[in-house]
């Protein structure tokens, strides 16, 4: 399952072998609300036509939270998506889930990672209430925990495979929100770009600030992914400087594809609707090859060096990690 921030990424994903592509409408109804990104109604129409011709699926994320009492943009997004014929809606807000499941009982609903459902009890609750067909797992589980969940639910499970890594459970992380006053959950962007400042330093490095807070001071030879509070470098009480929450690294679980599939994962998801067409093409291509390799060779599955090279090249600086899949 590949991400798309625009039509050309969608096509690149399909050409590179994705079975499905996910995206959001432009504006605040989706959790990757970045400037110049996402789909107009016209784009979505074209995207659906393109993917359906190629016998692939299109999933639309409406996964921010409506604040206060104005739910109409979210409800209208659901109406429009159903009218256009998306294959599934990826939702998180209880009220939006209720609206979609009541008004469109035939529509396929997926539970967004933003809904923060981390156990079979939680997933089954959303199934009982809203008849969700699939749940996207927050990146908090080991492989054996995923297996345990799968054994106790008939809801399909989708897991993140590649891309940016939230180290705090998704949907309930207020670090960026606290510092900027702009809620990630409501507005759909963590570390919104209008609050981010890059300042060159005398030693050839870079100071990176979020709404005034210094998240990192990079040396001339250092790089960093897009700056977020969780990947900031802070001073400990003894004065030492450390990535106290998470290194500037991205998720790469391609090496665990066999374990993920055998634990009961239905769909492997690539993060990065905000990334370029070439990122989408490379990551989707590698994932396609790796999944095909697993189904062909099973127990003899091994990572090809060219996959790793491609993946590392597309990460925005920094290393790679298995995240919680590799153990806590």
């Amino acid at each position: 399952m590949a991400p798309a921030g625009n039509l050309s990424s969608l096509k690149a994903a399909a050409e590179a072998g994705a079975d499905s592509v996910y995206m959001g409408f432009s504006g605040i109804t989706n959790a990757r609300n970045f400037e110049g990104l996402n789909f107009t109604v016209e784009d979505l129409k074209d995207g659906i036509e393109y993917l359906h011709k190629a016998e692939k699926k299109l999933y639309l994320a409406i996964n921010t939270f409506a604040e206060g009492d104005n739910l109409s943009p979210w409800f209208e997004a659901v109406d429009k998506a159903v009218e256009l014929g998306v294959d599934a809606l990826i939702l998180s807000d209880l009220a939006v889930l209720r609206y979609a499941s009541t008004k469109y009982p035939e529509a396929e609903l997926h539970l967004s990672v933003q809904a923060s459902a981390t156990t079979h009890e939680a997933i089954n609750f959303f199934k009982e209430q809203f008849n969700i067909k699939r749940a996207v797992l927050p990146r908090v589980h080991t492989i054996s925990e995923i297996r345990d969940i799968h054994e106790k639910t008939d809801v399909e499970l989708e897991a993140f495979l590649l891309g940016g890594l939230c180290i705090n459970v998704e949907g309930r992380c207020f670090l960026s929100s606290f510092v900027t006053g702009a809620s990630t959950n409501i507005e759909g962007a963590c570390s919104p770009s209008r609050f981010v400042r890059f300042e060159g330093t005398d030693n050839g490095g870079l100071d990176i600030r979020l709404n005034g807070t210094l998240l990192n001071s990079l040396g001339a030879d250092e790089s960093s992914p897009y700056p977020t509070c969780c990947k900031g470098r802070y001073h400990r009480p003894d004065g030492s400087r450390t990535y106290a929450m998470e290194e500037p690294e991205s998720l790469n679980a391609v090496g665990m594809i066999p374990e993920l599939i055998e634990a009961g994962i239905t769909a492997l998801k690539i993060e990065g609707r905000q990334r370029t067409k070439s990122y989408v093409r490379e990551m989707t291509g590698v994932t396609r090859e790796a999944v095909d390799e697993y189904y062909k060779n099973g127990d003899n599955f091994s990572i090809k060096p060219e996959w790793s090279e491609k993946i590392l090249r597309t990460f925005e600086g920094g290393g790679q990690t298995f995240g919680a899949y590799g153990g806590k």
């Binding site: 604040e67 739910l71 923060s116 106290a244």
Partner: protein, 296 residues
């Protein structure tokens, strides 16, 4: 407007916990949440200890509600919730597993601040399930809180004071600080009864890491907003426990709500923030039109 005392977020030893709750009896709070919102591996605060203290608080006339963890990702953690559900008290569910289990067990259940209730229809849905009260997420502004309170027939509560719990991870940040993983847990977070502060190099911000959670470094406080609090349609405001001075804070809120003049300097809080309530960043003031432009 009534005061509530949130669950202790830190890993305090038994004696500290006991003396804190002895003092809590004397605090002008109507409701006390007691439980484990952060990590089920914390030894000094298991179901048995929680139950003992809960009984004492109830006998002293407090409304007692047991808080469940904000992040639950495996069977062992689910078992802890089930243990808490067996206690003869109401439950504050801090994620959907606990909410669902509590409803099925026909327990009196409250939706905690870590359940995503952002709007009037989310609140109506939860009320429809039979939830007795909702503590809204701490990032909601005054206007949104009041919209929810205006249409709800159940208790609505919001955070009013403390180092706010902002994020939860599968990773233990305290162990990570020592280069360790969860398998090496020997309750090291107990060595940091106020969390461990990490600061930006130039002191322009920071956080408190606390086991598997991240708290705000700054004290969030609505202590100077008594007039707005008095006019609120919400039923409760929450004060988070700290190692020192929690009773003074509760007394101050109680006094402020009665219209008494406060000596804020004597409280010794220093600079506090209130950005969430005011619909601003929890720090330096920003040009409000920037946010409006983005949301347009």
């Amino acid at each position: 407007m009534k005061l509530s005392l949130g669950p202790v977020l830190y890993n305090w030893d038994k004696d500290t916990v006991s003396s804190f709750y002895e003092e809590a009896i004397e605090m002008p709070v109507a409701r006390v949440y007691i439980g484990q919102a952060i990590c089920t591996q914390r030894k000094s605060f298991k179901a048995k200890e929680i139950e003992e203290i809960a009984h004492t608080l109830q006998e002293a006339g407090k409304e007692v509600i047991i808080s469940t963890p904000a992040l639950v990702s495996n069977e062992a953690e689910l078992s802890f919730i089930k243990e808490l559900l067996r206690l003869p008290f109401a439950i504050e569910a801090n994620e959907m597993s606990a909410l669902s289990l509590a409803l099925k067990a026909k327990k009196e259940v409250y939706a905690g601040p870590h359940i995503e209730c952002y709007n009037t229809e989310d609140a109506a849905f939860l009320e429809g399930l039979g939830v007795k009260g909702i503590t809204v997420p701490m990032e909601l502004n005054k206007e949104s809180i009041e919209k929810i309170a205006a249409v709800s027939n159940i208790d609505i509560e919001f955070a009013a004071h403390g180092h706010l719990p902002l994020a939860f991870s599968w990773r233990c940040y305290t162990l990570r600080d020592q280069g360790l993983g969860k398998a090496d847990c020997a309750n090291q977070c107990g060595a940091h009864p106020e969390g461990l502060t990490i600061k930006a190099s130039d002191n322009s911000g920071g956080f408190r890491i606390n086991g598997t959670s991240v708290l705000s470094m700054e004290i969030y406080s609505l202590i100077e907003k008594a007039e707005e609090l008095k006019q609120s349609k919400s039923s409760h405001i929450r004060i988070y426990p700290e190692l020192k001075g929690t009773k003074d804070i509760a007394d101050a809120f109680s006094d402020a709500l009665k219209g008494k003049e406060l000596d804020l300097t004597a409280l010794g809080l220093g600079d506090t923030v209130s950005g969430y309530f005011d619909n601003e960043a929890n720090k330096i003031k920003i040009d409000p039109t920037i946010k409006q432009r983005a949301l347009a």
